[in-house]
């Protein structure tokens, strides 16, 4: 390789490397494995072949509290049809997480991303944000924030569509 190519290659890498650090998870991307959560306080479900709603929340976020009520109802309505809801807390303090969960008693899976690894990997844009994954494990819809009945209606429509899709593992 000539010195000239090496020189311009070095400049190109130098200039572009800054923009390659962040890797936001967007619609169409594969969602990272939940195993990065490690011992997160609840048994993590297998993602393959399931429609999943992954919600990022925090005990200090007021709309998150409201969203739990709606997700609890969704869990009850869609669990039998194969929807799995996983609520991932970004709380740094175990006590805050525990008291929030104890107070609301959600029926779905609630885990804590204690090292904030998953949330960094996903680069969540706001609190709360929920990701709807298709059976192929790819992000199909993203809901940034929670807007009560409007979010409830939209998410239900999207869950219905995802559950109705045919899926083959091969």
């Amino acid at each position: 390789m000539s010195l000239r190519i090496k020189f311009w290659g070095f400049l190109f890498l130098l200039f572009t490397s800054r923009t390659c650090v962040r890797a936001d998870v967007r619609v169409g991307d594969a969602f990272p494995a939940l195993s990065v959560l490690g011992q997160a306080g609840a048994e993590l479900p297998a993602m393959a072949g399931k429609v999943m709603l992954i919600d990022f929340w925090a005990s200090w976020c007021a709309p998150c509290k409201e969203s739990f009520r709606v997700f609890a109802q969704m869990h009850s309505d869609y669990r039998a049809r194969g929807l799995v809801i996983v609520a991932v807390s970004v709380d740094e303090k175990q006590g805050a997480f525990d008291s929030f969960v104890k107070k609301l008693g959600p029926p779905f899976i609630v885990v804590r991303d204690k090292d904030q690894q998953l949330v960094r990997q996903v680069s969540v844009p706001a609190m709360p944000t929920c990701y709807l994954l298709g059976r192929d494990g790819r992000v199909r819809f993203v809901h940034q924030g929670f807007y009560g009945a409007e979010t409830d209606r939209l998410v239900r429509e999207q869950i219905d569509a995802l559950l109705a899709e045919n899926y083959s593992d091969s």
Partner: protein
């Protein structure tokens, strides 16, 4: 390799290094508190108007001390008597 070519390359290298360094100043990642890091900011203690009585007292002191400016949101003569 000619001296002018070397100078040109050195200048380009300097320019790219400069742009890269200055690009850091424009990057929002350096100063932005990420959404999942806002527990302290979301604490009710961070609200300046969390205590209505204390707020009213502060407003009154501010209004009195500022005199001719007319206080904060209230029309007055600045005499500090009300």
């Amino acid at each position: 390799m000619k001296a002018t070519s070397l100078h040109l390359r050195f200048a380009v290298l300097l320019a790219v290094l400069g742009l890269t360094a200055l690009g850091g100043c424009a990057s929002s990642d350096l100063v932005r508190v990420q959404p999942w890091e806002r527990a302290t900011l979301a604490d009710p203690l961070m609200r300046p108007d969390r205590d209505a009585l204390a707020t009213a007292m502060t407003e009154h002191v501010y209004f009195s001390r500022e005199s001719a400016s007319g206080g904060r949101g209230v029309g007055g003569s600045g005499c500090g008597c009300n």
